[in-house]
């Protein structure tokens, strides 16, 4: 894992849940929530958990006003690019529209070797359900952020209804993207409750996540 991980993808692809799980599992120093698209279910809602775990949270909101509904980009989000001693995860809003906020930090994003710019993919999202649409979305994403995507995450799922076949179905599509664009599948995401049902050996690191951002009854 590189020092800085930036997660992008279609909205609802699972970026926030993966960000929070990764941050907790990998003992990341900073979580930078730059989601200006979604009004709900943002990683910033978990500030107390982060405090307890010693993770610093930077929010894309006016300080102490998480529900202001204003797309405010905190300048504190550049710290991890400047301070080479820390690790960070950036959680962007959905699609290229959510990712465009990164332009605000463009002047400090210099050392590309230490940054993973990852596209989170769930093939059960209708807008990213096939190879062509996924590649088109990656092209748009790169154009909007002026950053090269460096890897993919297979987060293909239907929440509670996910089966092993569903994740394999996702892997087959994402693998074709991976081959075409020469991008590695860095992680395959499996929800904790499904873990014991999974026999298949998936591409990339297996990232077992629990539902932290979304509540159980959702």
């Amino acid at each position: 894992m590189k020092r800085i991980t930036i997660l992008s993808g279609y909205y609802g692809s699972g970026k926030s849940e993966i960000s929070v799980n990764l941050a907790l599992q990998k003992h990341i120093d900073y979580i930078v929530d730059l989601d200006i698209i979604n009004p709900y279910f943002r990683s910033r809602a978990l500030h107390e958990l982060f405090k307890e775990k010693g993770i610093k949270l930077v929010e894309s909101t006016i300080e102490n006003m998480p529900n202001s509904d204003m797309p405010y980009i905190s300048r504190k989000g550049v710290y991890p690019f400047i301070d080479k001693s820390v690790t960070a995860i950036y959680d962007l809003g959905g699609t290229e529209n959510g990712a465009k906020v990164l332009i605000q930090y463009q002047d400090q994003i210099k050392d590309f070797d230490e940054i993973d710019f990852i596209c989170v993919l769930n093939v059960f999202r209708p807008e990213t359900s096939n190879k062509k649409d996924i590649i088109d979305s990656i092209i748009l994403l790169e154009a909007q952020t002026q950053l090269k995507v460096t890897g993919l995450i297979n987060n293909s799922n239907l929440i509670n209804e996910t089966t092993e076949e569903d994740i394999i179905h996702g892997e087959n599509i994402i693998k074709s993207v991976s081959e075409e664009l020469n991008l590695p599948i860095l992680y395959t995401v499996i929800e904790e409750s499904k873990k014991k049902l999974i026999k298949h050996n998936f591409l990339g690191e297996e990232l077992v996540i629990s539902r932290i951002v979304a509540r159980k009854w959702l």
Binding site: Y11, G12, N38, P39, Y40, F41, N67, D69, N122, F124, R125, P126, S129, N157, L158, I159, E161, A214, R215, K216, W217, L218
Partner: protein, 356 residues
């Protein structure tokens, strides 16, 4: 088609396209923005109309025009935006036009907040605009149900020639869930729209779309005719679900997201040996009074749980006809009640510590 994972707002948008919605007119407001955003892209590719209007007021009046011209038309908004739309909604009801209005509720009063709420219950079920009229109002609890009901709501609107409101809270707009958008829904027996002022005089005599009746007797007659429609809704089209009601000692009355949370609450209670059921209104107008007549004799208490200060409570009191003690648990301001809170409330009631 198999299931896809969708966000509530986009699932609602797609459902409208699937239902043959000819036009969408709307104005941005959180937390429903993904809905018009989705339609701005997809209505065009389907050759349908999409306009981001200058205001909610303009949007609903565009809906009036298109509905009057015989089109299937939808708008969406969130609570303060719905308040602005009330002007057009009463005209649509008064002129007996079909339209689908989606309300992704947020907290109020005033500008309130952007977090989920059910505090538009009165605004939805008591008309909201001027005059004696009612909306047919559906309050689904899951994305699948939302998609199915939106598809059917275009049929219901055409059948009654009346606006139908889909009342969901921000959570349903924002949450992700797998849905089958092609599931068959009930088809209603619909007549051709020979009344439409669609500029097609070759096919019909002059049509006028109007809600103005200057003669008091004409206006009274018009109101009586409208009331017959609402009576028909009340008598034959109440929808509700009774959940886990066999031998239940308490019934939790909750709709939409809160019903969903109550489902978890009754599991928590079952673990503690308490048998609780749920009365889940699916229509909030007409209010499902019939559900309360079907409660088993084991039910000794009712608990109304909602994300408002007790707006639905009044309808439950009327439906209950003073039979059972009624208790209330509400959270507002965008705070979503936790299943544990509702379960605790039930425990308090059964222990005899609660009062409304």
């Amino acid at each position: 088609m198999s299931k896809v994972l969708m966000k509530g707002n986009e699932a609602m948008a797609l459902a409208a396209i699937k239902a043959g919605c000819d036009a969408f007119y709307g104005y941005p407001i959180t937390p429903q923005n993904e809905l018009p955003e989705y339609l701005s892209k997809h209505m065009r590719t389907h050759g349908r109309a999409f306009v981001q209007s200058e205001s909610e007021v303009a949007a609903i009046n565009m809906v009036y025009g298109a509905a009057g011209a015989g089109a299937r038309v939808m708008t969406s908004s969130s609570s303060p935006g719905i308040a602005l739309k009330q002007e057009g909604i009463t005209y649509i009801a008064g002129a007996e036009l079909p339209a689908v209005i989606i309300n992704v509720m947020r907290g109020g009063p005033g500008l309130g907040g952007i977090q989920p709420s059910q505090a538009d219950y009165n605004q939805i079920t008591r008309g909201g605009g001027n005059g004696d009229y009612s909306l047919y109002a559906l309050a689904p609890e899951s994305l699948q149900e939302t998609v199915d009901l939106i598809k059917e709501s275009f049929e219901i609107a055409d059948y009654f020639r009346n606006p139908v409101m889909i009342a969901v809270d921000g959570l349903i707009g924002q949450m992700m869930e797998p849905v089958d958008v092609d599931r068959e829904v009930k088809k209603w027996d619909l007549k051709p729209k020979t009344w439409a002022a669609d500029g097609n005089r070759k096919d019909h005599p002059k049509n006028i779309i109007n809600s103005l009746y200057l003669d008091p007797q004409d206006l009274e007659n018009h109101n009586i005719k409208l009331q017959k429609k609402y009576t028909e809704m009340k008598e034959n089209h109440q929808r509700y679900e009774l959940i886990n009601m066999e031998n239940a000692e308490i019934a939790i009355v909750a709709y939409g997201s809160v019903a969903r949370i109550a489902r978890t609450a009754i599991e928590i209670l079952a673990e503690k040996g308490i048998k609780a059921g749920i009365v889940r209104p699916i229509t909030i107008f007409p209010f499902p009074e019939k559900a309360f007549k079907e409660l088993p004799s084991s039910v000794e208490n009712l608990l109304v749980a909602e994300m408002s200060m007790g707006q639905m409570l009044q309808d439950v009191k009327l439906a209950n006809e003073c039979r059972l003690p009624i208790h209330f648990y509400g959270r507002v301001g965008g705070i979503v009640p936790e299943a544990e809170e509702i379960a605790q409330k039930v425990i308090d009631i059964i222990g005899g510590q609660s009062h409304e």
